[in-house]
Symmetry: C2
Subunit: 143 residues, 2 copies
Amino acid sequence: MKIDPTHILKEHSLKHTKQRVRVLEEIALDTVAISQPELEKKLGKEIDRVTLYRILNIYEDKGILHRIMDMNGTANYAICSSACSEDHHHDEHIHFNCTNCHKIYCLDVVVPHSTMPKGFTAKTVSTTAYGICEKCNLLVKKN
Amino acid sequence: MKIDPTHILKEHSLKHTKQRVRVLEEIALDTVAISQPELEKKLGKEIDRVTLYRILNIYEDKGILHRIMDMNGTANYAICSSACSEDHHHDEHIHFNCTNCHKIYCLDVVVPHSTMPKGFTAKTVSTTAYGICEKCNLLVKKN
DNA sequence: AATATAAATGCAATTTAATTGCATTTATAT
DNA sequence: ATATAAATGCAATTAAATTGCATTTATATT
Ligand SMILES: [Mn+2]
Ligand SMILES: [Mn+2]
Ligand SMILES: [Zn+2]
Ligand SMILES: [Zn+2]
């Protein structure tokens, strides 16, 4: 995923700081989502813990990142689709949690909606799949 | 939901203690899931924090309770369907998170499976819906 | 009913995650 | 170049979760 941090920041009228650029760069490195602890491990020397929290929160608010909670209650972050805005996220794709490598993939699979019981009105639906990812399946086959 | 704590404990060869009975009683009180902090608030005087964690973990392992992580990474617990066992949970119903009252409902709605991309093998799929629950919708209409 | 023993509990201490307040630094508009 | 509002870093706090260990308790056996 090739992103332009400077452009993204300008787009959302956020001040251009080296910390904000670094966070975007780091998250864009891989196509899979990255967890807060991983980010902290990678950037902890350059960016203060608290600043990292603040940047992640503001990016989520602005619709730049979306947050995916995993099985353990850990926050994971991935770049949002271009359709996301400050008001509303449009990240209704499937999140695939690999139970082997613990990576979280944003899969381009349409989420099947199901009808809610009478009285319940759903605004967004999020689907998470647990299983073995592409890479881990290949590794298993080889051994 | 009428449950028999003593029977449940015997079924899973767990020792019958008053703490374990209380946790089951408390969770069975309501049909909606209850969060760890709520449980702690309700039982904190009778049961030690650590003991509560341990009981919840063992119940999850045994397939007595299932754990539902909410948007904020907080653990919520609900009684499992009778089909759940130590080896495998069968709680693939929809979890409805009310964005107003923050209650989590286990809805008896079939989860629609979707085909995974080539290489990805899903073992379980969990679907979470966010919106307004029955009760909150009624309250809004009244006012 | 008394006893043995393995398991469960409670408590203290530790670790980790997240938040808050405030002084200092920095980006950017003028 | 300067003003100023925003962002950062640091210290302190709050909260969640885990670990180790001494004590208590459930239950199987005598
Ligand atoms: Mn995603
Ligand atoms: Mn459920
Ligand atoms: Zn994997
Ligand atoms: Zn509600």
